[in-house]
């Protein structure tokens, strides 16, 4: 079975990891948001290597188009206070937690990296809008409607929380 494109995968993987590192290490939240944008766009490219065309488009629309813009709006609303100090307290416990977590996930990554299961052979319409839409409406119609209610409730809740009088 011919696997997904190797060159596109390697490029997108490098950019996704670099973007994620910029996001978690940047001092200024706006730089973190730009790192998140790089991360998201490269993951959309990685989805293309997995024949997930509709999800790559959705990733760009929802994440790059909505969530990153929402982050940038909040950063602009709050202003310079979004930049917390360079010395973040409780250094020992933070360093311990970070080192332990990084170690665990490096061990997991190195152990799963050698897994070489075969890629299945795919039909021509795998991952297209038509096939995925059919799958959603045939198998997951009720969850699909529930997720629309969830989004509606989240919008109402976000408005209620953000505009409430607090003092």
């Amino acid at each position: 079975m011919s696997g997904p494109g190797a060159a596109l995968f390697i490029v997108t993987a490098i950019f996704a990891i670099v973007g994620a590192i910029i996001t978690v290490s940047a001092r200024r939240p706006l730089r973190a948001a730009m790192g998140l944008l790089v991360h998201i766009v490269s993951l959309a490219g990685m989805f293309l290597t997995l024949n997930a065309h509709l999800l790559a488009a959705l990733q760009l629309l929802v994440y790059a188009g909505a969530i990153v813009v929402l982050f940038v709006f909040v950063i602009m609303l709050i202003g310079p206070e979004t930049e917390t100090g360079s010395v973040e307290g409780m250094l020992v416990s933070r360093a311990t937690a970070g080192a332990l977590t990084a170690g665990i996930f490096l061990v997991v990554a190195s152990s799963v990296a050698s897994y070489g299961g075969a890629w299945g052979s795919i039909e021509d319409d795998f991952g297209t809008v038509e096939a995925l839409g059919t799958a959603i409406y045939k198998q997951a119609l009720v969850p699909f409607e529930l997720i629309s209610i969830t989004l509606l409730v989240a919008i109402v809740g976000a408005i209620a929380i953000a505009r409430s009088k607090t003092d």
Partner: protein, 100 residues
């Protein structure tokens, strides 16, 4: 590329997100770390769906994960704004409103 390469990249991305969530105290960057972790899970779901392409279950799950992530970001950022109104900071260490 083997499936293992995708699994390794997803694990590394989840680890970066977890480290960011645990070590930063800027609430906005903690929310971005959560987004990175959700994205890494999407990579796993799509890779395994590509390996077993008889149905679209993994892609349907990834679709729902994207929708839930959008809802989570909206509510989380609203909470950050309400919190900033009260405390005039967005450091999560200062979030002690319910302690006393």
């Amino acid at each position: 590329m083997t499936i293992g390469a995708y699994l390794a990249v997803a694990s590394i991305l989840f680890g970066i997100g977890a480290v960011g969530f645990l070590t930063r105290r800027n609430m906005l960057i903690q929310l971005m770390s959560i987004e990175i972790m959700l994205n890494s899970v999407n990579v796993l779901l799509l890779a395994f769906n590509r390996a077993n392409p008889g149905n679209h279950d993994g892609q349907v799950f990834a679709f729902f994960v994207i929708a839930v992530a959008a809802a989570e970001a909206a509510v989380g950022l609203a909470i950050v704004i309400a919190y900033y109104r009260i405390k005039r900071t967005i450091e999560s260490d200062q979030a002690t409103l319910l302690r006393n």
